[in-house]
């Protein structure tokens, strides 16, 4: 027993302090992700997408003839753990670039460490505006910032819906709050009156009190920002209470992933959502990636997956152009990225107070006969938008 406990302690110490021996022909990239807890759904989709991209990279000869090996570590969406993972990657594993994480809270913790330790960090799907507003030199973000998530949706409002009033419902998280703030600002710009702006606890089981208030306020547009379960429950209860509006709109995340249609069923019909990516986009590789993902896992991926998938190619591209594989050289080559990916064109710019931020077109999608169709902007549209939408009474 004593010997056994000694061995356990020994392995424990070894596993913390020993740097793994890397074979010369491989490049190992460890990616921190939330694989347990509330955000696990998104983490899983991103993990699968990273893996698919790595397979493709390796099938075409790897990165500079080195085989790319991916490994994943679960942060459980806890900032302390995310930080621990990244400290180990930088310090013990000497990984010259960090990719990953999902929630904004974790991304903030990771970004601060990456900046302090002068290691480039590529953010894949964390949307909080603040992260790239800190003037961090080593932090790059390829997804659009929350402030711009709804750009396409807002232009759809302006050109088609022309609402006079809007009700904004959002979950109490960094993502929900900044999404709601952005929409309130955009509404003011369009001259749309915000009749109601209320937050709710994520994971609520009953939205009826909130929705009764919406019903009484009779807004033209109901705009909601939430993650998966809340999004479908909101729409189901809107249907139950027959809350009618000219348009129901969602701000990406929970409204733009396949589970939304699966869970909300016919209540999801005609709902418009902002999103960053759809499989109908004409970017090179977008359709192929989506079909392959669907063939393997049974559903289309959302923008989270597409961003993760493309991130591997961004890393590959940056590593190939880097003069050496040191953090600083990789940072410089990431900065010079100009790459077309399945997620869209990627270029890291400094503007509007953001640094190393990729600005891209956002889209609006609508659920039409149980499928997401891209409806806005018109040059990306896969189907024409359906507007005005029928009232709940007319749908039967």
């Amino acid at each position: 027993m004593k010997r056994l406990s000694f061995a356990v302690v020994f392995i424990f110490v070894l596993s913390i302090f020993a740097a793994p021996v890397l074979a010369a022909n491989t490049f190992e990239l460890v990616i921190p992700l939330p694989l347990t807890g509330k955000q696990a759904k998104f983490g899983e989709m991103m993990k699968r997408s990273y893996e698919m991209a790595a397979e493709e990279v390796n099938a075409r000869g790897g990165i500079k003839k080195k085989k790319l090996i991916l490994a994943f570590e679960d942060s459980g969406a806890k900032p302390e753990t995310a930080r621990a993972i990244v400290e180990r990657l930088i310090d013990v594993k000497k990984q010259p670039i960090i990719v990953g994480e999902y929630t904004s809270a974790c991304a903030k913790a990771v970004a601060a460490v990456a900046e302090e330790r002068k290691t480039p960090y590529l953010i894949v799907a964390s949307a909080d505006d603040e992260i790239t507003q800190q003037n961090y030199k080593y932090v790059f973000r390829q997804n659009q910032v929350n402030d711009h998530y709804a750009d396409a949706l807002v232009s759809f409002f302006r050109d088609v819906v022309k609402p006079r009033t809007i009700a904004i419902l959002y979950e109490s998280s960094a993502f929900g709050t900044s999404g709601a703030e952005a929409m309130a600002k955009d509404a003011a710009k369009l001259g749309v009156r915000v009749v109601m702006k209320e937050k709710y606890e994520a994971g609520s089981v009953d939205f009826r009190p909130l929705l009764s208030k919406v019903k009484a306020a009779r807004p033209d547009v109901v705009y909601m920002v939430s993650y998966v379960m809340d999004a479908s429950l909101l729409m189901k209860q809107i249907k139950e209470l027959r809350v009618d509006a000219k348009l129901f709109a969602g701000g990406a995340a929970g409204f733009a992933i396949p589970e939304f249609i699966e869970n909300a069923k016919d209540a999801a019909e005609y709902v418009v959502s902002a999103t960053l990516w759809t499989e109908q986009l004409k970017y090179p590789g977008a359709g192929e990636y989506a079909e392959k993902y669907k063939a393997r896992y049974g559903a289309y991926p959302s923008y989270h997956g597409a961003s993760a998938y493309s991130a591997i190619f961004v890393v590959k591209n940056a590593l190939e152009r880097a003069k050496s594989w040191t953090p600083d050289a990789i940072r410089d080559s990431l900065k010079a990225t100009n790459l077309m990916t399945a997620f869209g064109p990627i270029r890291f710019e400094n503007r509007e107070g953001y640094r190393n931020q990729n600005f891209m077109d956002t889209l609006a999608i609508q659920v039409q006969s149980g499928r997401f169709e891209t409806i806005w902007p018109l040059n990306h549209a896969s189907k024409r938008y359906i507007y005005p939408i029928p009232t709940w009474r007319q749908r039967r």
Binding site: S15, R88, D91, E116, S178
Partner: protein, 307 residues
């Protein structure tokens, strides 16, 4: 013995540990502060609190608000959180300490959640769910963070030990064993329970203020978390040993290092939570008084197996 351990701990950064190892060590020390603080109230005074996140969060937000609203170093939060949290726990204690046993536990559980929702909604004051982010943390090196939290831990340890060995400590234990009997012996139970709560809250708050400085980012879901703060605190003390001096420290070592080690076993994937849970269940079943509390039993078990 405590001096030897303190000397070893003080010399730890000189051994050239990687910053990853230092991060874990800092977390261990921080959690042992929270554990020791909880132990004073839960272990000695017998008032099992499920809401220590409230004090942790108030401490963290004291530091954060000093930084955002008054533009002074959030390090001031560590000393200044003490009067703030003392006042806060006094008021909270005034409400929740009227309750006993499971009702007290539920009330404290609610108080943690109430604080989270409050912080989410006082947007102008706390920044709401967007949280507070420090632009630049004080040091890149971890050595000073370590010494600061080690100092807090040493003070906490000495304070808890002195208190437990004083007349006050006996009052606490008397209240734990039988509140009515203690009352009839002439102990002002309300006063001493409030005292235990305030001291426990202040120490937890100081750890919270340190967390703000160390992590550089807080939001209500992080520092007022029911599971990640309140429940973990209880687990630390339960695993280590309730009402023992070293219990919370041992518990923190186990909860942080073991969790991290199991998590990073390659190939285990997301099953790490299950394993960790099973391990905790085993510890609680076989060592109900915690590792320190049941140390003689543990020694006997190991010896028996050897023979």
């Amino acid at each position: 013995m405590p001096f030897v351990i303190l000397a070893i701990l003080a010399a730890l950064p000189l051994t050239g540990l990687s910053s990853y190892a230092m991060h874990l060590v800092i977390l261990v020390v921080m959690w042992s502060v929270v554990g020791m603080a909880w132990n004073l109230l839960g272990g000695y005074c017998g008032q099992v609190s499920f809401g220590h996140a409230a004090y942790f969060g108030v401490g963290a937000y004291t530091a954060g608000i000093l930084y955002t609203k008054m533009a002074i170093s959030p390090w001031w939060g560590v000393p200044l959180s003490i009067p703030v949290v003392a006042l806060f726990s006094f008021f909270l204690g005034y409400i929740v300490l009227r309750l006993r046993g499971p009702f007290f536990a539920l009330a404290t559980l609610a108080s943690g959640e109430v604080m989270r929702v409050t912080a989410e909604n006082l947007v102008d004051f706390t920044g709401g769910t967007l949280g507070i982010m420090i632009q630049e943390r004080t040091w890149v090196e971890k050595t000073w963070y370590y010494y600061i939290i080690l100092l807090v831990a040493t003070v906490t340890f000495v304070l808890v030990k002195k208190l437990a060995e004083s007349k006050l400590g006996y009052y606490f234990v008397a209240i734990r064993e039988d509140q009515d009997a203690a009352e009839s012996m002439g102990i002002n139970t309300t006063l001493y329970k409030t005292l235990a709560l305030c001291i426990s809250g202040c120490l937890t708050g100081a750890a919270g203020a340190f967390y703000m400085n160390y992590m550089g980012y807080i939001d209500p879901n992080v520092v007022f978390a029911l599971h990640d703060i309140s429940i973990i605190t209880i687990m630390i003390v339960m695993v280590g040993g309730v009402a023992t001096y070293w219990g919370p420290v041992v518990g923190a070592v186990i909860m942080v290092l073991l969790a991290e080690w199991i998590r990073s076993i390659p190939g285990l994937g997301t099953a790490h939570y299950t394993f960790f849970g099973i391990l905790l269940i085993i510890i609680i079943i076989f060592l109900p008084n915690g590792i320190v509390g049941d140390f003689p039993k543990l020694k006997r078990l190991l010896k028996l197996q050897k023979a």
